[in-house]
Each structure stands twice: as structure tokens, then as C-alpha cells.
């Protein structure tokens, strides 16, 4: 197990590439919740062979893209509190109904960022343990969505592995992550450890193991 910092780490896939890989893994007719930040990019990479319906936990199903400046409506926002649009066939609902979609297992996929993901699928992404604790809908999403995808850089800004044997930060959920998409690899959470689904074409498995805590295998 490595505890090193990788400050001169290899350059991996761009965020857009990661997003397109996730987009390709979302089947036609899926109901999807994209977390705030990097996961929002996924919707820009969905191909014409499929229709995906986006859920925003503040009571919006059928969310569309960001509006033009002159079409902004402060009453039509997403969970990140940014102006959005609604597509034909979309609908509004209240918060309990919206979270019934999440908690009742009706959201097929959610894509979230991570601070840490452990070998058994534990996720930490809501609190560094410092500052004002704020959780939002993250714990509901990881507990309720049928498939929880994590989209993240493989290393922290400080060059530390985010894929770890055991999370050290406060958990968002325990054993909830199914797959992790990083700039270095696509990795499934399995009983045997981090299973490589795809590795960045410029990297070796040995390198991936070096920047990952806990066993990676193919």
C-alpha cells in the first residue's frame, strides 16, 4: 500500500473524455441524476442513439440544458441552484415526491463526485470533517439510486489517491458505489478489489496500482 504523494502524476483523460465514457454506459431510456460539478458534463456527450431523462432532486424531471441569458427564470433551477430548462414531457413535483424517485429506487443511475472511494464501495464526498457540515441530497442518492457511478480525478489536488482500502473521511454511504470513472481508468467495485474495466491507453497497470491504495486487477 502506498502513502506517497504523486505531485508529478501522469496526465490522464480530459474531463470531456471521462464524461463521454460515462455517457456511453448510460442505456437508452435511463432516468439519471447527475451531481453538481464535473458530472454535469455527461449530458453533453449522450449520443443520438438514446434518450436519457435527467432528474434534479429539487422536483424536476426532464431537465434540459442551461437557458440563454434572456430566458433565465429564477423559479426554474437545478439542485445546484443554477438556472436550467425543462424539456417536453418533463414534470415538476414537490420534494417528498422527488426524493421518492431517488429513495424508492426509480433513478437508474446517479453520477457523483468523490473525495474517497473504498474497495468495498464506501463513498466519502460530503465532508472533510472541517467547516460547516452540509450534505444536501448525496446520502439519499447513493442509498437509493439503482447504480451509483463516481466521476473523479484519480488523485486529489495534493496528489493523494482517492481510491483507498478504507475511507478516512466521513462516509456518504457504505458499500454503495458500483463503478468509478477517473482520468486514469474505469474501475468496478468487486469483492476482489478494484477491477479494471478500461485503463488509460498511456498508463500501465503497474502505474495504476502505484497511484491506487488497495489491489487493482484485470
Amino acid at each position: 500500500m502506498t502513502k506517497k504523494n504523486f505531485t508529478n502524476a501522469e496526465k490522464g483523460w480530459e474531463r470531456g473524455v471521462i464524461a463521454s465514457k460515462i455517457a456511453n454506459d448510460l442505456p437508452h431510456a435511463s432516468y439519471v441524476n447527475l451531481g453538481i460539478g464535473m458530472p454535469e458534463l455527461v449530458s453533453q456527450h449522450i449520443k443520438d442513439d438514446r434518450e436519457i431523462i435527467y432528474h434534479s432532486e429539487n422536483g424536476l424531471l426532464g431537465m434540459g440544458p442551461t437557458p440563454n441569458e434572456n430566458e433565465i427564470d429564477f423559479d426554474l433551477i437545478n439542485a445546484g441552484k443554477k438556472p436550467v430548462t425543462i424539456l417536453p414531457g418533463g414534470s415538476f413535483c414537490h420534494h417528498a415526491d422527488s426524493f421518492s424517485m431517488i429513495r424508492g429506487g426509480h433513478i437508474d443511475y446517479c453520477v457523483l463526485g468523490a473525495m474517497e472511494v473504498s474497495m468495498n464501495g464506501d463513498l466519502a464526498n460530503w465532508s472533510t470533517g472541517k467547516g460547516i457540515p452540509a450534505v444536501g441530497g448525496a446520502m439519499d442518492l447513493v442509498a437509493g439510486a439503482k447504480n451509483v457511478f463516481v466521476m473523479t480525478q484519480h488523485l486529489t489536488k495534493e496528489g493523494k489517491p482517492k481510491l483507498v482500502e478504507k475511507c478516512t473521511l466521513p462516509l456518504t454511504g457504505s458499500g454503495v458505489v458500483s463503478r468509478v470513472y477517473t482520468d486514469y481508468a474505469i474501475i468496478d467495485i468487486t469483492k476482489e478489489g478494484f477491477k479494471i474495466v478500461e485503463i488509460n491507453e498511456n498508463l500501465s497497470i503497474e502505474y495504476l496500482q502505484t497511484v491506487t491504495e488497495g489491489r487493482v486487477y484485470q
Binding site: 432516468y31 443520438d48 432528474h55 414531457g89 415538476f92 413535483c93 426509480h106
Partner: protein, 237 residues
Amino acid sequence: MQINKIKTEIAEMLSDVFDGATIMVGGFGEAGSPIELLHGLIDHGAKDLTIIANNSGNGRVGLGALIGQKQVKKVICSFARSAKGITFQELYNKGEIELEVVPQGTLAERIRAAGSGIPAFYTATAVGTPLAIGKEEKIFNGKKYILEEALNADFALIKADVSDRYGNLTFKKTARNFNPIMCMAAKQSLIQVRKLIEPHQTNPENVITPGIFVKKIIEIDNPIIETNAIEEGMIYP
């Protein structure tokens, strides 16, 4: 590719139904009763079904007919008595069908709980009555409550008024009743709808059941009205 949940054949609607399935049947009395889907289920022939509904059917049409075909082993409902009820009552009196009586509000809440990921909740309803026997009790703020568990289902047979291809449903008046919550609770909700519209015609403010809770839709533009069918002496099949 576009999402399109619309089917054209009743048999296609019911293609995944299996023997021993738990099936919710929407409607209250006859308002919202999915007669055509129920008749489709008779044609399908699945056996040993558990039915979750408010009532137990009237005459020999719809749910009454399904029960009459002996396809149902158990009914979970709030009110299995009815002036026009025949088939359930006959089988029950002969001991050939099981009945679980659930207070109507507890029935609704157990169904909603299933759709909302709540495995169980506490309620004051039925405390101190025979329907509380065997149920876990707990005191909150000095008052006694009992624990009730979620009621899940494999399928829900639902009649709605209007839908688009996503399954955004509206209902008519009191024909709304159990339908929205049953759509939430079933793994597959199967909808017969009076009228199909285009998605851009759906007002997002007025959708009662959003498409996320809907699996398949079929248009039945002039559905059988149970009361009329019984008066006319209809017997299915």
C-alpha cells in the same frame, strides 16, 4: 432514438406477468378500474396471483371476473364486501381464497412507502384493534403506534385519463385514488389510458404520475364502465 412506452396489444402489456405474481389493481369501487387490462390478465392465464386493491371486485367483469377464474390465491384490501360482489364472496365462504384486511389509509400509506423506499413506518391507525395483533408497538410522545410494513408489487394495472409516450399521466376526478401510489410501488406499472397526447402537450405543472413510474401504456379510448357492464349482464370471458 426516442423513449416510447406505448404498446398496441394488451398481450404485449402483460407479457412479463408470471404465476405467483403480486399485482396491484388501481381504482376505488369502479372509478379508475382497469377492466380491459384485467380481462387481458384472464386471457393471459397467470395463476396463484396476489391482488392488492381497495376492493374485491363486482359482478363477473374486471377484478370480479379474474377472481371468478380462480387465478387469485389472495386478496389484500380494505373492503371486500360489496352489494354487487359475487366471485370473491363465493370463494371466501368456501375457504378457497385468502384475505388480508388492511385499513384503507394504512393500505395507501403502505403502498406509498413501497414506492418511496420506506420499508416500514409507525401509525396510530388500528392501535387497540384486532388488526394490530402481532404488530410491533412503540410509544412516541406518550402515544402508542404500531409498525406497518411497505406493500410492494411486481405489477400494477392502472387506468388513467391522458398520457404521453413517456407515461406522464393525469386522472379524472376521483378516478385518481390509488393509481398514482400504485404506479410508484410496482416494479412494472401497466397503464390503460383513454387518450394519448404528444409530449409537448403535457403541462409539466399538472402531471400527476410522472413517466418515471410508468413501464407500458396502451390506449383504450372507450373503456368498459363496470356498472353499465354489470347491468347489461356482461360476463367475462
